[in-house]
Amino acid sequence: MIEWLAARAGWPARWLLALLALIMLAGVVILAASIGEMPIPLSVTLASITNGLGITDLPLDRIQQGIVWQYRMSRALMAASCGAGLALCGTILQALLRNALAEPYVLGISAGASTGAVTVLLLGLGGGLIGMPMGAFLGALAAFALVILLAAGARSSTTRVILAGVAAAQLFNALTAWVVSTSANAEQSRSIMFWLLGSLGGVRWPDVGLAASIVILGGLICLCFARTLDAFAFGEDAAAALGVAVAPVRLILLTVTALITATMVSIVGAVGFVGLVIPHAARFLIGPGHLRLLPASVLIGANFMVLADILSRIIVPQQVLPIGVVTALFGAPAFALILYRARPST
C-alpha cells in the first residue's frame, strides 16, 4: 500500500508519508524507552520524557524517570541518529560510486574503525591522549582514504571500488584479530568482541548530541547536492557533461560521509547492513530521485535502527544482543535478495 501511495501520488501524499514516518519514529522511540528489563508503563515513560525535556514537572519515581531519560531515551535517540547517518552514507556512496553494494561496512570503513579503536585500547597508542572513540574515528578515516585511493585508478570501473573495500576490510580485520589475540586477556576480548558487533550500551547524552548534530548537518549538506547526485546516474563523465564539477563535489560528499561514518562507528561500533539495505528499501518505495531519496533513507534508517535496538533487547530474555547481530540477521537476507534481483549491468 505504501509503495502504491509513494509511486502514484503527488507531493501532498509524499509529505504525508514523511509525516507518518516522523510520527512513527516518535512512536518507536517512546516504545524503546518503555521496553526493557524493567518494563515501565507508557504513561510513566511519556511523563518522564516530558519531564526530561523540561516541558512538565510531574511527580514521578526517581528511578523510573532516571532509567527512561538517562538510559533509554539517549540510547533510542542514538540508535535513530546512527540508523539515519548510516543510511545517508549508504545512499551517497551508492550514488557517487555507482555501485549498489557500496556502503561504509562493505567498503571496510567500519573494519578500519575497529582496528583504530582496538589498537588504542590495547596497545595504548597515543599515550592515553586519545581515547577509544578517537582511535575508531581515526581508523575509519584512514580506511576511507585507503579505499578511495585504491579505487581512484578505476575511473569507470565500479566493481573495483567494492573489491578495494573488501580487500581493505580483510586487511583491517586481520590487524584487529592480530592485536586482540596478542594483547588482550579473556575479559577484554569479550568486551571488544561485543563492541565490534555494535553496541548501544553506555551511550550518554553528549554522544547523542554529537551524533545527532553531525547527522543533521551532514544531511542538510547532502540535500543541497541531491540534484547533483542524480546527475551521476550515467557516470562521472556524464555528470561533468551536465555541468557538475565532479572532483570538488566528490571530495565534499566523501568527506561528509567519512565524518558521519567515523562518528557513528566510534560511538556505536561496527553496525553492518543498515547503510546497504535501507537505501535500497527507500529507493524501492520512493524511486531514484535523490531529493526524495535522501530524506526517505534517513527516516527509514532511523526507524529501522530503533526497532532493531528494541529487538536486540527482547529476543533473548535477560540479555542484550549486539545491535550489529540484529541488523545482520535482517540485513543479510535482504543483501542476498539485492544480489539476486540486481540487474546485469548493461
Partner: protein
C-alpha cells in the same frame, strides 16, 4: 556558435591518442567525424567537450576559451551524447531527459513549467512522447540512444557533440535522427561509421586516422577511393547517386559469387 580546437594533443602512456588536431566548426554547421575503430574519435569529442584536458592546445566555444570555464557554463552551451550510456539506477525515460535541465537549475530551484514544456517538446521531437514512464532498463538500444539525444536537447545547447548516435538504430530511425539533428540547425559534430550517411547529412567531413586528422573538406573532396583505401584498407568506388544527388560509396570486397 562556433567550436574551435587548436593543435589539440592528448597523450596516454606516452602515446598520442589525439595528435595535433586543429578543427573549426562554423555556426550551424554539421561536421561529420569519420575514422576507423580506435582512431581517436571519441577522445577528440571528449577533448572538445572539455571532459579531458588536452596536454597541449586549446578549445574555444564561440569567443569563450574552455579552459578554466565552469562546467556549468559549458554545459549550458554544449551537450554531448556519449557512445555508451549505462546506468545502475532504475530511472524512467522522463527522469533521464530531466537530467538535461541540470545545468539550468540551481541546487534548490524547484521544477518550473518552462522545464516541463521543454521536456515534453524534446520527447515529442525524438518520437518518445508515449514512453515517458518506461524504465530505462527495459528500452531497446535504439530507444536508449534517442532518450540520450532528448536529454542532450533538453540542455538547450548551441553546440551538440554526438558519438555514433546512429549505433543500434534501425535504418528508418538512423535517417530520422540525422534529419532531426540537421533540422535543429545547431553547431554539431557527429562521429559516424557509415560513410554514405555522412555524405548525405554532413556539410563537411573530417577523417581521423591513428589520432591524426588526415582529411578535411566537403564530402566530395574527402570521400575518395584513395582515402578510403588508405584509412580503412578497403577498395571502394564513389559516385554521385542519380537518386538523391549525394555521394554514394560502393565497397568492393572479395564477394562470394552472386
Amino acid at each position: 556558435m562556433s567550436l574551435e580546437g587548436h593543435e589539440l594533443r592528448w597523450m596516454k602512456h606516452q602515446t598520442p591518442i589525439v595528435d595535433d588536431v586543429t578543427l573549426t566548426v562554423q555556426p550551424h554547421e554539421t561536421l561529420g567525424l569519420l575514422g576507423p575503430n580506435g582512431s581517436g574519435k571519441s577522445s577528440l569529442l571528449q577533448l572538445l567537450a572539455s571532459l579531458r584536458t588536452p596536454d597541449t592546445g586549446r578549445v574555444r566555444l564561440g569567443d569563450m576559451p574552455l579552459r578554466h570555464q565552469s562546467r556549468r557554463r559549458i554545459a549550458r552551451r554544449l551537450a554531448l551524447v556519449e557512445q555508451h550510456a549505462t546506468t545502475e539506477a532504475d530511472l524512467c525515460v522522463e527522469e533521464v531527459v530531466q537530467l538535461g535541465r541540470t545545468p539550468h537549475r540551481g541546487p534548490l530551484r524547484p521544477w518550473q513549467p518552462e522545464d516541463e514544456r521543454i521536456i515534453r517538446q524534446v520527447l515529442e521531437r525524438v518520437g518518445l512522447a508515449g514512453m515517458r514512464r518506461r524504465r530505462w532498463h527495459t528500452l531497446s538500444g535504439g530507444e536508449r540512444q534517442r532518450v540520450q539525444l532528448a536529454r542532450a536537447m533538453a540542455q538547450q545547447p548551441e553546440v551538440l557533440l554526438l558519438d555514433e548516435p546512429t549505433n543500434h538504430l534501425d535504418i528508418q530511425h538512423q535517417l530520422d535522427l540525422l534529419a532531426l539533428i540537421r533540422r535543429l540547425a545547431l553547431t554539431s559534430v557527429i562521429a559516424l561509421h557509415d560513410l554514405n550517411l555522412a555524405a548525405m547529412f554532413c556539410d563537411r567531413l573530417i577523417v581521423m586516422h591513428r589520432g591524426q586528422l588526415v582529411a578535411e573538406g566537403t564530402p566530395a573532396t574527402v570521400l575518395t577511393p584513395a582515402l578510403i583505401h588508405e584509412v580503412y584498407g578497403v577498395t571502394a568506388v564513389v559516385e554521385r547517386s542519380p537518386h538523391h544527388g549525394r555521394l554514394q560509396v560502393h565497397y568492393l570486397p572479395d564477394l562470394p559469387p552472386a
